[in-house]
Amino acid sequence: MWGEQILLDAGGSPAIMGSTVNENMLSPYRALDLTDSSGFLCGKILSDLGAEVIKVEPSGGDPSRLTPPFLGEHPDPDRSLYWFTYNLGKKGITLDLESPEGRRLFLSLVEKSDWVIESSPPGYMERLGLGYQELSRVNPGIVLTSITPFGQDGPYQDYKGSDLVAIALGGYMFLCGEPGRPPVRVSFPQACLHGSGEAAVGSMIAFYDRQNTGEGQWVDVSIHASMVPVSMNAPPWWQLRNVIVRRQGTCRAGLSSGAVQRQTWPCKDGFVTFIVIAGTAGANTNRGLVAWMDEEALADDFIKGIDWDSLDMSTLTQEMHHAIEQRIGRFFKSHTPWELYEEAMSRRIMLYPVATIPDIASSPQLESRGFWAEVPHPELGRSITYPTPIIRDSQVPFPMGRRAPLVGEDNDEIYGGLLGLSSAEIDSLRRTGVI
């Protein structure tokens, strides 16, 4: 059976049938991760699920080690917090894929691996003799996942991508920001994370099929396409109703009545988010809020007189929205975001603070779930706090991996241990610059 063969061939810690549950879901498997910053998260997800992920960098290190933010004031390839965060738990080797010897070594690694993840421009891997055909010749079960701005072919295949370009062409940027000002993105690159997340799912689907059939395949991921579902119901608004949804800043659009409604609200020392949702989905929240306002003498007869159950979003007029919002807004201004949140939770009202970065860092909810963990960085003489793996299991804690690899840190283990090269051979590869 293919699966058992995998267990024998690949993996640092072979698993056997009936092994204890205290084993990570993907521990018998191995991924080679060639990506730049546009693809880090894909390998990170596989690593969090237990796979051994080996980051393969050119000699001297991946240029993506210069992705901000940095520990310190200046760009430093050994201090990129972006690199650290999304390569946590991976091993690291160097390899010059453009040399014949490097190519040969890479194919030997492919023989012992389950996935190859890469993010080079379309055609580059083929030109090196490392396209899907070549990889599957040495390992028919290999899954090759390619993450590119627009996919492997098509009219935009050679277009240059960036976070901003993917979010713009994907249709999401048009929906964000204030009317009367340019559309905006989220002020931290998101597109490559969506692309990498989608790549992780595609990689797992191909892997599942490989476990059943023995055959791998090529997973072609478009970062551009990965941004489209983020717009949710906006494309069907055009496709079904010929309506173009537009950005509304602190409000939201896309409601059937055509009205816009407030979503983020100023309060004392900050902001909260709250939406009037009509009908069953929002009635309890709305009733609870009005009762609370009434206790503080801030509910008038108008707002107390609304029958929240029969209110219909599809007929709620802009005037009615304004009338409700005027009263709620006044109430919110009399409290801080965290006062409102504490009370909202006990009254089962759907309201959240607009959390700042320090708010998230000190969240009691994240704290109580052990979301943060310190990982030692001996060469920096300190530890750094990171999020723990996203996937939690009710029985098994997912362990934190080692801090992100230094350049070529695991060359001896991988080339010596996994490929069985002698130390003389490894030294020679070092001298000739292959590794």
Binding site: S19, L26, G72, Y156, S187, S222
Partner: protein, 403 residues
């Protein structure tokens, strides 16, 4: 029709809105039998969320619902009746994977929580998706993804430094969490194949969202820097923003992160002298004079058609993209080439479009089928999948269990 990856996989889907349905959609689009459990009194909330095919609210005509539920089967069961809970129990026993988006404790009331199910089916894989996770002091705090966006930090980081926080459109974290969740379901299936053991996965949508901002948190912990919204500015690129083009609300996104891209941009704009202007020669200088830089680029872009300018810049090697609205996205030549929009015939909506995954599998691509009408597959699920006799099925109908 080619063989599908998940064609023998059985999924009981107790989720609604977006996160759960988007996870199970990865499975149904690749051949799994996904049974979506709903009730007529409380159908999936997005069934009554616009846009609709017609002018009015219609629970079988929402385009919001259809996009996240392609290829699933709908079973309507009243869980307040003991016989309804029996059907739900049979469905769980039939399945390999159970998806749940109820608040912690709800499944336990019906005897369908992981611990109870596990006694009969130690190999069951259950994933619970909630806003804040199954444990912790705020576990029971209620809300939709539209609000969670703010708690996860995205609203604070969207908009202009001189303005209020903006809510990024939609329910942003709803589209983040399913990527982590779907990958973990499939990993759990492989783990079960090897060990015979199931899993209960606790997917917190807040935590998934924070993973998409993680370097900013790590930055705060190590250096104390607090990131805040900055419009479209980028620390290592300039110009970097959306520039106005001809027409109403037309914009072109331009992102220059290298000197080469900057020089090519100047050439395309016919402003080679700008590249030599000391205010703009280096990235540092451009960042210092970003206001003037933006004005100069905008003076050029205003005279351009957005799509033509994108073509010119991309030919010159400059990352540029039209800020597309939903009409543009629906007609996008690259998405069309990839077969991203799949037109299918729906019994109540007629022909309309469904989104394919952003990945294409070379050997076993996704095969999409229309989304289900409410209760459309009651008979199929009860008779074919759960093996009820015709009498038993009719009895359920008569007693109003399949409402």
């Amino acid at each position: 029709m080619t063989r599908q990856v998940f064609e023998s996989l059985k999924v009981a889907d107790f989720t609604w809105a977006v996160v759960g349905p988007m996870m199970s959609r990865y499975l149904s689009n690749h051949g799994a039998t996904v049974v979506k459990l709903e009730t007529a009194t409380r159908p999936d909330v997005v069934r009554t969320t616009p846009p609709f095919k017609g002018a009015h609210t219609h629970r079988d005509q929402s385009g919001y619902f259809s996009m996240f539920n392609s290829g699933k089967r709908s079973l309507t069961v009243n869980l307040s009746q003991p016989k309804g809970r029996e059907v739900a129990h049979r469905l769980v026993m039939w399945s390999d994977v159970v998806l749940v988006s109820f608040a912690p404790g709800v499944m336990a009331r019906w005897g369908l929580d992981y611990e109870s199910v596990c006694r009969d089916r130690p190999d069951i894989i259950m994933i619970s998706t909630t806003n804040l996770g199954m444990t912790g002091p705020h576990a029971s705090s209620a809300g939709f993804g539209t609000q969670l966006v703010a708690l996860a930090g995205f609203s604070h980081l969207t908009g202009w430094p001189d303005g209020e926080p903006n809510q990024p459109y939609g329910a942003y974290t709803d589209v983040v969490a399913p990527r982590f969740g779907a990958a973990s379901i499939i990993a759990a299936l492989d783990h079960r194949r090897r060990t015979g053991k199931g899993r209960h996965i606790d997917l917190s949508q807040l935590e998934a969202g924070v993973h998409f901002l993680a370097p900013l948190l790590v930055d705060y912990f190590t250096t104390g820097r607090e990131a805040i919204r900055s419009g479209n500015l980028d620390p290592v690129a300039a110009p970097h923003g959306a520039f106005p083009c001809r027409g109403e609300d037309r914009w072109l996104a331009i992102a220059c992160s290298t000197q080469e891209e900057w020089h090519s941009l100047c050439q395309v704009m016919g402003l080679q002298k700008m590249a030599e202007d000391p205010r703009f020669t280096t990235l540092e200088a451009r960042k210092l004079n970003e206001g003037e830089l933006g004005d100069m680029v905008a003076r050029w872009s205003q005279t351009q058609e957005a799509d033509v300018a994108m073509g010119l810049l991309q030919q010159a090697g400059v990352p540029a993209g039209v800020v597309q609205d939903s009409r543009d996205v629906s007609n996008d030549p690259q998405l069309t080439h990839r077969g991203y929009w799949v037109e299918l015939e729906h019994p109540e909506m007629g022909r309309h479009r469904y989104p394919a995954p952003a990945f294409t599998l070379s050997r076993t691509p996704a095969q999409l089928h229309p989304s289900p009408c409410l209760g459309e597959h009651n008979e199929f699920v009860c008779r074919e999948l759960l093996g009820l006799s015709e009498e038993e099925y009719i009895q359920l109908l008569v007693e109003g269990v399949l409402e």
